[in-house]
Symmetry: C2
Subunit: 155 residues, 2 copies
């Protein structure tokens, strides 16, 4: 029996996967430094962002799905944010246990502060890159991600 070989595309995609791993680590560490002054971490910041961008208050499970994480991981962060007064729980008329998560004043202020750091930072990081090239990169990564999600819809 002869082992399969990488197609040209398969070999290139393997390199891309390893690059995604490296970049992910660098982004997390850069994000931690970026928001360190606000008392946030990359993970908490990202959760605040998911809450911020939701058009309405949502449940933890909904937030987790929107971020591609398990609800348990997001639940822990949300509970910590609640202890710190950055988010609050609101009764959910549609589900007694699954309360809705909202940003408090303090949470909004801290998220806004993080955003004020993020914008010049990401603008500088993007300097010299072409908008179209960034969009095509996003597009390809999205395609690959969606293929993986259809392989195993769970988290």
């Amino acid at each position: 029996m002869i082992d399969a070989k990488h197609s040209r595309e398969g070999a290139a995609l393997t390199e891309l996967v390893l690059e995604v791993f490296r970049l992910n680590g660098r982004l997390l560490s850069a994000g931690d430094k970026l928001v360190a002054g606000t008392g946030l971490t990359s993970a908490r910041w990202q959760v605040l962002g998911a809450i911020h961008f939701a058009s309405e208050p949502q449940t933890v499970s909904w937030l987790a799905r929107s971020m591609g994480l398990t609800r348990q991981a997001v639940q822990r962060i949300v509970n910590e944010l609640e202890s710190d007064g950055l988010v609050a729980f609101k009764e959910n008329p549609a589900h007694r246990r699954a309360r809705l998560v909202t940003l408090t004043r303090k949470g909004q202020a801290i998220y806004a502060a993080a955003d004020r750091h993020q914008k010049p930072w990401i603008n500088a990081l993007a300097k010299g890159l072409e908008r179209g090239e960034i969009d095509r990169t996003l597009s390809l990564l999205s395609i690959v991600r969606r293929r993986l999600e259809s392989e195993s819809p769970d988290n």
Copy 2:
């Protein structure tokens, strides 16, 4: 004082960053399933790969740098792999404490088994994607990563 705004490129790159986070999680979970039959995990598999692809036996610190992780993280995995008999330490003539890591027969066999699963899987995942597009994606992600690395060379 007026807050800075996202440049068009900055806004696009922000989306890209979030996509990298999502894709990273999906890749890890897909990788775990892919090599579950071999007793490996994504992390152990990746470390074995770094050892495999090094042209010569290397130290843990070298491996960590090649993977973009801290040496402590890689050290723990390597020590576990050593307990399981997948890697072995070799004396390093150039450095008494920093021993060189090599794959044992068993480690080579298990890595080869994982690779036999990876190839058809990644080929299928890459199906219909253009080689040039994958390469351009890799190129842009590398540029961003190197910019982040030059910001904070550590790790």
